[in-house]
């Protein structure tokens, strides 16, 4: 138990909002989260911002423009990978009495910038970092855009385990089916495996329908300690346990340990499964997870996350996801809002809102029966396990 719970959520939705100020989007998300939590704005005394300027909005500007007077503020690097880190930073601040009601805000617009991966696009200059880009970009070799690192890892994975590349389609189709039932999703047109296989290559071996859909959005998540959450109107969604992003020569955002991608080791790595620290601390194992939500900039990331957290063995995920297993009525519903692939690439915030809805029983036509435990996890090893009850 972390002693911290989510008390309210709000979003301005997902789409192209070119004419809107980021502060306006953030204000909509915050107002909805406050209404959901039954709190006045003046009660917020902690703020953690995810994506800063220029794509997003910095913590100081948020506080100034939204009228927040906080005694704890923090902010992360602009990448989507820090979504869960933002939430756990707020949780740690709450646990240490640095604030009593913390709001996490992610507000950003992709539509203001050139296409991701091109000059003027978000994060383009990071490709020229001294150690290489954050997705292994090497633009001087022609290797630009996050998709390049994902494609390189996907090829390696498919070759290593002898997997037909179109098996990835099961992930795209499953998430689209869920998105059809989500009015917030930007991609709700029905999609079949045939549609998937007809979609064009962007960077081989990845097709257009392997890629997430960039959107503009704002989301707000209000957290407080369990004792305070109990007095608020909505059922608290408890953070049962969490663990952070792993980093080092053995880690790469695309893939999982042992895959031999980028400079990571190429070995016979095995997942820890129920011994993974986040599972041990939560007192549950992979078999107890009722719904998994994971970072899905590209379809293959879902497979790697399933393997990393021991839902299946190394090289098995492409088979494991077939036959509807990760669909709404399957054994392990995954990314039930449609995720980045179909709801829109909201850097994990759409997933987090969906986890809260599922655990509260508010997911409407997407509601999974009897959800007690939901997990957020990524290929970088970070995870939050959420529960409806304290365990």
């Amino acid at each position: 138990m972390t002693g911290v719970a989510i008390a309210g959520i709000g979003t301005a939705g997902f789409g192209r909002f070119e004419g809107e100020a980021l502060a306006s989007l953030a204000d909509v998300a915050l107002s909805r989260a406050l209404e959901d939590a039954g709190l006045q704005r003046a009660r917020i005394d902690g703020l953690v911002s995810h994506i800063g300027s220029p794509r997003g909005i910095d913590y100081d500007e948020l506080a100034l423009l939204l009228g927040l007077r906080v005694r704890y503020a923090a902010q992360t690097w602009e990448h989507g990978r820090f979504g869960a880190t933002v939430i756990t930073t707020a949780a740690m601040a709450l646990a240490h009495d640095l604030c009593d009601y913390a709001v996490c805000i992610a507000a950003y617009a992709n539509s203001l910038f050139a296409r991701i991966g091109t000059a003027g696009g978000v994060g383009f200059r990071e490709g020229m970092r001294e150690g290489g880009g954050p997705h292994a970009e090497a633009p001087h070799a022609g290797m630009a855009a996050p998709i390049a690192g994902a494609a390189m890892s996907t090829r390696r994975y498919l070759e290593r385990y002898g997997i037909d590349r179109d098996r990835l389609g099961a992930v795209a189709v499953a998430q689209r089916r869920a998105a059809e039932r989500n009015p917030l999703a930007v991609m709700r047109e029905p999609m079949t495996q045939t549609d998937y296989e007809a979609s064009r290559f962007i960077v081989e071996p990845l097709r257009l329908l392997d890629c997430s859909v960039p959107v503009d959005t704002a989301a707000a998540v209000i957290l407080t300690r369990d004792d305070r959450a109990r007095d608020l109107p909505r059922p608290p969604v408890h953070l049962l346990a969490f663990q952070g992003i792993h980093a080092g020569p053995g880690e790469f955002i695309f893939g999982r340990p042992g895959l031999g991608i980028n400079q990571a080791d190429d070995d016979d790595w095995r997942p820890l499964g129920a011994d993974e620290p986040v599972f041990r601390r939560a007192g549950v194992g992979p078999a107890d997870v009722d719904t998994l939500h994971c970072y899905d900039g590209f379809t293959s990331q879902v497979l790697w996350t399933l393997e990393r957290f021991g839902f299946c063995g190394p090289g098995e995920a492409a088979d494991w996801v077939q036959g509807g297993r990760i669909e709404l009525d399957g054994e392990l519903p995954v990314n039930t809002s449609g995720g980045h692939l179909s709801e829109g690439h909201a850097n994990g915030w759409g997933h987090t809102l969906e986890i809260v809805r599922q655990l509260r029983g508010e997911a409407g036509p997407r509601q999974i029966d009897g959800v007690r435990v939901a997990q957020w996890a990524t290929t970088l090893g970070d995870s939050i396990i959420y529960g409806r009850e304290r365990v």
Partner: protein, 141 residues
Amino acid sequence: MLEITDFPGSGDPSHLLPRATRLNEPYFAGLAEGRLRLQRCTACGHARYPVAPACPRCATSGGRWDELAGTGSVHSWIRYRRSYLPEFEPLMPYVVLCVALDDGPRMVGRLARAGGDPAIGGRVRAVVERLPSGRHTLAFR
């Protein structure tokens, strides 16, 4: 010695290289001479890339610059079907390889010849491409 050829794309992609520093100077000076020079750890013998102050395998600081053969095998590869960089547009659709060097780490570079799908495990050798600015980058053929 590695073959040195002119960058076959359009304009000058030098602005896409990492900034030149005292740390990476021997690497780029090596390329200019047609040599692939990387740091090799004096404790564990691991040759590393990217250029770094410490060994990623055993964390020992320092290391000595060593010349590598530049031969290796294809570990993975991708092919661009959408253009992101104007300098590489005339080369579309081009292939970028991840190569496991025989005597060193994995490195990426464009496949500097046209052709069909590369084979995983296929043999390649490093070549140097000279950019209009006088800086250099690594490719494979």
